[in-house]
């Protein structure tokens, strides 16, 4: 049932990362559903994997994102998705705990309703019917429409399980017009009404389905099934004519064709019309003998001949049937031996590869095996599929562990390289860092800052000059010294005047340029501060790295060792479980084939008994002839 749960999610996750319990949801249906609002890209990434049916990547990626707290804005939806994915892997306990936690912590009604629904589903699957009913009645009104259908069907199943047929019929009666599950609800309603003691009402629903047009294979199969159910119910009520009417509607090539042909023959025989029974039974007896209906037809056909008085043909057919049963029995022995040798599972895995562990993986191709026809019906059984998927999951997990073990080896080497590079570079970086006298630079910067403060406070424009002005100031000083030595000589008056003018012009120029120079000087000081800050930050980071890196390396190395230990501890467990599960699956198939053999033996005994009776009859007739002569 876990599979049910996941496939629905394909439809429903677009609405809110949810899963449900049915399988038809196709890509198109899902695409038509309302889009989900992704509030964290990593949650969207898990959905991206999920939509591609990469469920393992999806759930592990989601858990990684939860570890890094990257899906906080979609927290409840992410938990719901995780629970559903775990459920899809058959991890009922953990999934149940997640849903219960979501309910307990007061998630939004839409999340809570879906969690109750899944809890009800899990409990139903595990056989806790009362608890499942308790959960289902707590579901509010926020389920999406198609989940609402599933809720109805589940509720009806729960009522049917405790033989409340009338209650189930009441629930289903309200669903018959649903566009999604309507036809199935009508079928179930028909069955429920028949079981509740209203065969006429139930048959009416099934008859309506049995005559309805069916545009696709799924609905055609449902129609066939309704007609077969009606046909056999009529046979049970000893209404062979009605049974023939219903069974005539079943397609000759559908999944239920063999049952219908067999039933049609019995209806004809019960109507005292064995000649008419010959037609379906002859057709059926030519079909693949791995089907129980075909085997039964092999002895039903000579019975019809005997009924018609064609004892010779009847005897021939019985003998043919006995030969067939014996040869089939031998073939079954071959199949059982091949299964026990492990060929079946190895061949199935080889011919049906899949990228990931998952419940939606299906067997598409049978391996070349002796008399593979026997296997198809066994392999189609739910128990086998579940058990085989478990086996396949274990194989996947075994490879997964091996891959991680290889990767961990690479991580270990990478870490060793980093350690080596770190040890190599550290002295160089240290030497370089020590060559940079950060403290001296900081002192020079502080001295400069003090000088700027003084210049600014005193508006000392003469302190801020460029190279040309510096040269001119030097020349002015030297001229001033010469003029000063000349004293009050009147002949030097012109020179003094020119010096005064030149010095005044310089003072004017410096005063003019002072604001811009001061701004530039402040800007340069700020830039120096930034660079000094960056250098200090790097210096601190280097010091921090010197302290932390060895610890980080140690921590990583410790984690690698720990994870490797966990892998090594799990590998033999997975291998042992894999072997155990292989034997379990093989036993399952072999037991089923043994049951087929026993059925064949019963048929063969009955055929031999019938042959003996035919001989007795012939002997009695001969004796009677003799006596008459």
């Amino acid at each position: 049932m876990a599979v049910h749960v996941l496939r629905h999610a394909v439809r429903r996750l677009t609405g809110a990362a949810a899963l449900a319990c049915a399988l038809t949801a196709g890509v198109a249906a899902a695409a038509d559903a309302p889009r989900h609002v992704v509030k964290d890209p990593h949650y969207g990434d898990s959905l991206f994997q999920f939509y591609q049916e990469h469920y393992f990547s999806s759930v592990v990626g989601l858990m990684v994102s939860q570890h890094f707290d990257r899906v906080a804005n979609n927290a409840d939806e992410a938990e719901l998705l995780r629970g559903s994915l775990l459920l899809s892997y058959g991890l009922h306990r953990e999934a149940g705990e997640i849903f219960a936690r979501l309910i307990a912590h007061g998630a939004a009604p839409s999340v809570r309703d879906r969690a109750w629904f899944y809890l009800a589903k899990i409990r139903y699957q595990r056989g806790f019917l009362a608890e499942a009913e308790d959960a289902i009645v707590r579901i509010g009104t926020t389920l999406p429409p198609d989940l609402e259908d599933d809720r109805g069907l589940l509720q009806a199943n729960l009522l049917l399980a405790r033989a409340d047929y009338a209650g189930a019929a009441k629930v289903l009666a309200g669903m018959t017009t649903s566009t999604g599950a309507g036809r199935y609800a009508r079928f179930n309603l028909g069955v429920a009404l028949i079981k509740s003691g209203d065969p006429a009402g139930g048959s009416a629903w099934l008859d309506e389905l049995g005559r309805a047009s069916a545009p696709d294979e799924e609905l055609r199969s449902l129609r066939d099934r309704a007609n077969v159910a009606l046909g056999f119910a009529a046979l049970q009520r000893q209404q062979p004519e009605n049974a023939r009417t219903f069974l005539e509607r079943v397609r000759l090539t559908g999944m239920d064709a063999n049952k219908a042909l067999l039933g049609y023959g019995w209806a004809a025989a019960e109507s005292k019309n064995p000649r008419q029974a010959l037609v379906p039974w002859t057709e059926l007896s030519r079909r693949d003998a791995s089907d129980a209906a075909v085997l039964e037809a092999r002895i039903a056909l000579p019975y019809a001949y005997a009924e018609l008085g064609a004892f010779g043909q009847s005897l021939d057919r019985y003998n043919e049937a006995i030969a067939t049963f014996e040869s089939e029995s031998k073939a079954l022995d071959d199949s059982i031996a091949a299964i026990r040798s492990g060929d079946l599972l190895a061949g199935l895995l080889e011919r049906n590869p899949g990228a990931e562990m998952g419940w939606f993986w299906n067997i598409r191709e049978l391996p070349p095996m002796p008399h593979a026809g026997h296997l198809a019906p066994v392999l189609a059984q739910h128990e086998f599929q579940e058990a085989f998927k478990n086996y396949r999951d274990l194989q996947f997990l075994s490879h997964n562990l091996q891959q991680w073990q290889d990767k961990l080896g690479v991580f270990g080497e990478m870490l060793a390289n980093r350690r080596h590079a770190y040890a190599e570079r550290l002295p160089q970086v240290r030497a370089k860092a020590q060559g940079t006298d950060l403290a001296g630079l900081r002192q020079r910067r502080d001295a400069l800052a003090g000088e700027f403060e003084r210049v600014e406070a005193g508006a000392d424009s003469a302190a801020l000059f460029d190279a040309r002005q510096g040269e001119l100031l030097v020349r002015l000083d030297s001229v001033r010294a010469v003029v000063s030595r000349l004293g009050a000589d009147p002949e030097a008056a012109a020179a003094r005047e020119r010096l005064r003018l030149a010095a005044g012009a310089m003072t004017w120029e410096l005063a003019q340029q002072y604001p811009a120079r001061l701004w530039e000087a402040k800007k340069a000081l700020a830039a120096a501060d930034r660079e000094l800050g960056e250098a200090s930050r790097r210096d601190a980071a280097l010091a921090q790295a010197q302290r932390d890196e060895p610890q980080r390396f140690e921590a990583f190395a410790g984690r690698i060792v720990d994870l490797d230990r966990r892998i090594q501890a799990l590998q033999p467990t997975v291998a042992a479980l894999s072997r155990e599960q292989q034997i379990n699956v093989q036993d399952m198939v072999a037991s089923e084939l043994t049951r087929q053999k026993e059925r064949l033996a019963i048929y063969a005994t009955q055929a031999r008994f019938a042959v003996a009776q035919l001989y007795d009859r012939a002997a009695l007739e001969r004796e009677a002839d003799h006596a008459a002569r």
Binding site: A31, L91, D150, M357, L397, R566, T573, L577
Partner: protein
Amino acid sequence: MKTRCFHWMRLAGLVLLAAMHAARAADASPAGTSTGVSATVAAASPAVAAQAPATAADASAASLDSRIQDVKTELIRLNRDLMVLEEELLFPASTQLAVFVSMDVGKLFALDSVQIKLDDKVVANYLYTPLEVEALHRGGVQRLYLGNLRAGEHSLVAFFTGKGPHDRDYKRGTTLKIDKGTDPKYIELQIKDSMDKLQPEFEVKVWQ
């Protein structure tokens, strides 16, 4: 004799009927069945579906199933821890850059491929399968690139190739200046439909 034989045969028919019901119960399993059929069958034989394991063999199988469940749980947790280690080792938070691709509606643009250039260097070239495009249409967000980037300014250029309106070949680029700090950087490239212009639009969202 005829009568006796007939009754035996009739009984066989009824045995088959019972077998048919049992088969339906088996069909109630989800594997490969559709919603309706499984629901149908489950309802047709609910008691079978609801039965708890009763025999010793069933109990043993249940125990094996339970142990397999435990191992699967442990392995999923182990995979999480391994992936956490891998990410911390290869893409530390201080240098991590993740580029995501998403699609809103996407009716005006059929995505074929995306190329990402980081500081003029091609770091990702991705060709989409129909299944991946479908996953994007349904709201999935693909983490297209995960890498490391130093702190500071960088340029990211993304080219989208596909079919635009009227099934015409369409290639568009979008550019973004990234200021990478010491926290991980998540960038989402969004493909949207502009119904006003009847053209696809390519937007960039910086998550952090």
